[in-house]
């Protein structure tokens, strides 16, 4: 199937939405959350209208169906990232919970005061705050790979930090502000050679790139369904089997146990060990449908389209006087353009763009330290996905000129 963006747009009902009378939405905020194709919405509807039941313990038809759908989705997600087996996929709420799970279980069981964790200056708060909490509680040390002016990580500093014998290196695969695609495979190999484990924040990579956990050889990887055409309320943690098996459980409750006595319990095997209580069942079905949808298009095609989009967007945006884009050149980044414009606050830029139906995001994008590094508090961010078009980029550029006018 050849990639046809107009065809793809028909799969996303929201793209027909008029946000102001006569003005259809131009959705350039997919980095925050993606839109959902009809097939994903319908998969969940069908679940609720035909099969809905609680899973695992039920022997009736609905419970058997629900259980099977929940587990089939896991298999699909495992295949999508080329995980060796489905039980290495732990369902969580989102990327944030996935990273916290590692921090609460693996890290608290394995790290002690003085141990070093390496992060980067471009991390999302989700990959900072869990480690801040651990550092405050346990005296674990944090060091940061610097971001250079061009938006790339300084791998020389990384190399020298590795000499300090870190226990863990946790970093983002793709920056949600700069768009930088980090050389994950290389960075993971370097970490392993230094004896450290790795966590990959793949919130922005799994939705946009072909990601292969075996090629990356990553130890843990976190991502969210809502950023990859799937529903809110569900995400995943991938982990190497031996690590997941050795980790203590996270939340306690139903379904994560092998046996419960009045005063003690035995946890069950992975993945259930980490899935306490009634999980996001309908959402797992939607997650599976999202993976089916993206697979039917092909992740190479999705990436190629986004690459075309960002190339064009950077070209057009760079024409605008007073506009400054952060991050590397198009060949080193995904479909994210964050910029400042002429001293006008990003909130005002975004608000005026919104009046023309253009949905962009303004703020620190949950990456305050990165903004601070660049001496700013906020940027305006336009981001692209498989349904974005060059025409939308043109409208964005026109919109920015209109912002200028309002502020005279």
């Amino acid at each position: 199937m050849s990639f046809n963006v107009q065809q793809i747009r028909k799969d996303f009902p929201i793209l027909d939405r008029e946000v102001h009378p006569g003005v259809k939405v131009i959705y350039l905020d997919s980095t925050a959350t993606s839109q959902k194709p009809e097939s994903v919405i319908e998969a969940m509807n069908t679940f609720y209208r035909r099969s809905n039941a609680n899973i695992h313990r039920g022997v009736h038809v609905l419970a058997e169906e629900s259980t099977a759908m929940y587990e089939q989705a896991r298999v699909k997600i495992a295949k999508f990232i080329n995980a060796p087996s489905a039980h290495q996929i732990i369902y969580t709420r989102n990327t944030t919970e996935s990273i916290n799970l590692v921090a609460y279980t693996w890290a608290r069981a394995n790290l002690k005061s003085g141990d070093l964790i390496i992060l980067t200056e471009m991390e999302h708060h989700s990959n900072l705050v869990p480690w801040h909490m651990l550092a405050a509680e346990r005296g674990v040390r944090l060091e940061f790979i610097p971001v250079m002016d061009d938006g790339l990580l300084d791998l020389d500093v990384y190399r020298s930090l590795l000499f300090q014998g870190p226990k863990l290196v946790s970093f983002t695969h793709m920056s949600n502000v700069l768009g930088t695609i980090n050389p994950a495979a290389e960075m993971i190999q370097m970490a392993h050679e230094a004896g450290a484990l790795t966590v990959l924040d793949a919130a922005q990579s799994v939705p946009h790139l072909k990601v292969d956990v075996q090629k990356l050889d990553v130890d843990f990887m976190a991502f969210s369904a809502h950023k990859m055409c799937g529903p809110t309320g569900i995400g995943a943690l991938y982990g190497k089997t031996t690590l997941l098996e050795a980790m203590p459980p996270f939340l306690g409750g139903g379904d994560m146990i092998k046996e419960v006595k009045l005063r003690s319990f035995k946890p069950t095997t992975i993945p259930s060990k980490f899935e306490a209580g009634t999980p996001a069942i309908a959402e797992s079905v939607g997650f599976g449908a999202a993976v089916d949808y993206l697979s039917s298009i092909g992740m190479e095609e999705v990436s190629a389209h986004e690459h075309e989009m960002i190339e064009y967007a950077l070209e057009r945006l760079e024409e605008i006087p007073g506009l400054k884009i952060f991050g590397p050149t198009a060949d080193k980044k995904g479909g994210v353009a964050s910029f400042t414009f002429d001293g006008i606050h990003p909130h005002d830029v975004a608000q005026i763009l919104d009046r023309h139906g253009i949905a962009v995001r303004a703020g620190h994008h949950c990456a305050q330290p990165l903004h601070e590094k660049f001496g700013i508090t906020a940027t305006t961010r336009a981001s692209f996905y498989l349904y974005s078009t060059k025409d939308e980029v043109d409208k964005l550029v026109e919109g920015i000129y209109k912002v200028k006018k309002v502020f005279g």
Binding site: I352, R355, G363, G408
Partner: protein, 131 residues
């Protein structure tokens, strides 16, 4: 075209009358909007009758947050501290004369939260101050 950016707002944003600091002052407080990192500091001088004699703000943020700070300070000169404590969301909306969604409302209310936290002598400019 753009009601949200009425001329008065752009005007107060570009040419604020109350931007600056007061030194000495009787009350000074600063806080951020956690959603966007916008920052506002407000300094007050209070006269012997307990009324706001002078007021200044400083900080950075969007047109809405900065213009409402300027409009807010203009409106409190001559008011007693008890009157200031009684101000709420509606006061800001009246000053701005526009409708705001929940996110931009936070921008607009930042200065009032900072002002009230300062007047009450609180440690934090919390949302509950303006509800």
């Amino acid at each position: 075209m753009d009601d949200l950016y009425r001329e008065v707002i752009i005007e107060h944003y570009k040419n604020p009358s109350y931007r600056g600091h007061l030194d000495p002052h009787d009350i000074s407080f600063a806080d951020n909007n956690p959603l966007c990192g916008d920052h506002i500091q407000i300094d007050l001088r209070v006269d012997k009758d307990g009324k706001v004699a002078e007021a200044r703000f400083d900080g950075h943020g969007c047109a809405i947050s900065q213009a409402s700070a300027d409009l807010l300070l203009e409106s409190v000169i001559g008011k007693s501290l008890d009157e200031v404590k009684a101000l709420n969301k509606q006061h800001i909306l009246d000053l701005l004369g526009i409708d705001l969604g929940p996110v931009r409302l936070k921008c607009a209310l930042l200065s009032l939260k900072v002002l009230k936290a300062g007047v009450y002598g609180l440690g934090e400019a919390s949302d509950s101050l303006v509800e």
